[in-house]
């Protein structure tokens, strides 16, 4: 009897141990887009927690103590990078996370940089506005997950291939949509400078009301220049963003009579149940709003 119990205990221990080894990899992300990428590539082998929740402005996000603990305990932390998370370096130095901290944006090819008076150029952190960059992000995430769990490499590879195939479909759709717009109408007036990568991919010129961060403030001269530009180039529509106060763009509308083209998702996915709760849905929403509003009629 005692031996039987002993054996049962041993078996339980082994089972438990086995389950420990197969416990999902804990991945923490600081970007709604990366939350989706990590879940898609990792599948059942990872448990993803997104600290920057959908609808949150990542420019002003501040991690709570619980967020910091989640980052410290994670097996892998995925950040947007390109200086979007200004607190990251201090956090890594101070709290000493157990897992690797990967600034995914820093791995992108062809990072856009804006010249800045009296300093190094400012890197545009909104890399996810290019579908190609998200495909790169999927590859970065695949490599990082494989490094942590080499045994699951085939699964990660399969999932990444599937996800990238979906992105290719999205890219083809977006290119066909934008192709309906004559080149002369590809002008994008938005709340802040978040669509640089989108503009590069599809031949747009961006005219933001404020700078790369939603925190930058506009000045009178710049607003006046935008009014003149909208009138001179007969720009078809201007756009507001989901996480920025629309009052400045609304004043452009009042002043020039230009149409309000709708709300764009600049800084990540929308909340669940919105029409932008996946990356593809967000991108489709933006492209449909832009093309729909700027088409000559």
């Amino acid at each position: 009897m005692r031996r039987a119990l002993h054996r049962a205990g041993l078996a339980l221990l082994l089972l438990g141990g086995g389950r420990l080894a197969a416990a999902p990899l804990r991945v923490v992300t600081l970007s709604t887009v990366l939350t989706e990428v990590a879940a898609a590539v990792g599948g059942d082998a990872v448990a993803v927690a997104g600290l920057v929740r959908p609808g949150v402005d990542p420019h002003t996000f501040n991690p709570s103590p619980a967020d910091v603990r989640a980052m410290v305990d994670a097996d892998l932390v995925l950040a947007s990078g390109l200086d979007l998370e200004g607190y990251l370096d201090r956090l890594v130095a101070g709290a000493g996370p157990r897992g690797r901290v990967v600034a995914v944006g820093d791995r992108m090819p062809d990072i856009l940089a804006l010249p800045r008076a009296g300093g190094p150029p400012e890197r545009d952190p909104h890399w996810w506005q290019s579908i190609g960059n998200v495909a790169v992000a999927a590859e970065v995430v695949r490599a990082e997950l494989t490094r942590e769990r080499p045994a699951q490499a085939p699964l990660f590879q399969r999932n990444a291939d599937t996800y990238r195939a979906q992105l290719a479909g999205l890219q083809a759709w977006a290119a066909a949509e934008v192709a309906r717009l004559p080149a002369g109408r590809r002008e994008l007036v938005t709340s802040h400078d978040a669509f640089g990568y989108f503009a590069r991919d599809f031949g747009f010129t961006v005219h933001p009301v404020s700078g790369l961060s939603t925190e930058a403030e506009a000045d009178g001269r710049h607003m006046a220049d935008l009014v003149d530009l909208i009138r001179r180039d007969r720009i078809g529509a201007v756009f507001i963003e989901s996480s920025v106060n629309p009052s400045l763009v609304e004043n452009l509308v009042r002043e020039t009579g230009v149409r309000l083209g709708g709300t764009l998702y600049a800084d990540g996915l929308g909340p669940p149940g919105s029409d932008a709760d996946t990356y593809a849905a967000m991108y489709r929403h933006n492209v449909a709003a832009i093309v729909g509003a700027l088409l000559p009629r």
Partner: protein, 291 residues
């Protein structure tokens, strides 16, 4: 650049006209209220108040979403609770009004931060309440006009009570004045003005308009009436020059107005013939000791 280009051409734009008008209207009431705040040693009230609005904004967002009207009233309720609560505490306990205000506002601010961390989404709510002088719409302009009219009317009708309550509250009470009521009404008016100003023009510009013109005028005037007039003139002139500076130099608009008002303040501190630093040095006076 001709004088026309410098002073008139920028206001060919509607948004510039609306912004200037809103700043001037709230500059009038800010200039008036600021004088009383400075004389009653409540100069830091605006700064404290801007923080105390947070739980009201968060609660309004929770109930009504990003409706500007809801956010305005949410902020207004939180601001009134802070201001009137601290006035009440200072009368019922031995805590002075500035300490009561400082304590209440930080409690409100903490409550706001805690509430926001529990909200299902964390967009920057303050960004939706606090406006920009270049983003003033017809609604904002109407709000500024109403608030300004109410303030000016209150100063005209209740000038004697305000004067007495500001300089000699004890005498005011002794002669049958209802000091507590006047003070509460004054605080309500100030909160209404500050919330309206922050919503139409942003925090920086509002705090500047409600303090710098008054404290500059304080350095030049000996009579309450002339201090009020000079303060209003400085507030309106500073708004006008600052908005032009923002236009020509490409500076953030709220900051440009505050820098203009700040230059006036610095000049007053140095050059005021009676109360300025240079005059004091020339007279061979050592700086007055703090007592």
């Amino acid at each position: 650049m001709s004088l026309h280009d410098l002073l008139v051409a920028p206001f060919a734009y509607e948004f510039m006209r609306r912004g200037l008008l809103a700043a001037a209207l709230l500059g009038v009431s800010g200039g008036l209220l600021g004088c009383v705040l400075v004389l009653r040693r409540l100069a830091l009230m605006g700064d404290a108040l801007s923080h105390s609005l947070l739980p009201g904004i968060a609660a309004a967002w929770l109930l009504f979403g990003t409706s500007t009207t809801a956010l305005f009233f949410g902020g207004l309720v939180a601001g009134l609770l802070t201001a009137l609560g601290s006035a009440l505490l200072s009368r019922l306990t031995r805590v002075k009004e500035d300490a009561a205000f400082g304590s209440l506002f930080i409690v409100f601010f903490g409550a706001g931060v805690a509430l926001i961390s529990k909200l299902p989404t964390r967009i920057s709510l303050a960004d939706f309440l606090f406006g920009n002088v270049l983003g003033v719409g017809p609604d904002g302009l109407l709000l500024a006009a109403v608030v300004c009219a109410v303030t000016v009317a209150a100063f005209v009708i209740f000038f004697r009570s305000i004067l007495l309550e500001t300089f000699d509250p004890v005498f005011h009470r002794a002669t049958g004045g209802r000091g507590g009521l006047v003070h509460m009404a004054f605080l309500t008016l100030t909160v209404l003005n500050l919330v309206a100003a922050m919503q139409t023009m942003g925090v920086v510009l509002s705090l500047g308009l409600f303090l710098l013109p008054a404290v500059s005028a304080y350095l030049w005037c000996d009579r309450f009436r002339s201090m009020l007039v000079l303060s209003v003139v400085l507030a309106v002139a500073g708004s006008w020059v600052g908005i032009l500076l923002s236009f020509h130099a490409g500076l953030a608009s709220g900051a440009a107005v505050v820098l203009c008002l700040g230059a006036v303040f610095l000049a007053s501190v140095l050059l005021s013939p009676k109360y300025g630093a240079l005059a004091a040095l020339r007279r061979g006076h050592r700086p007055r000791r703090f007592t």
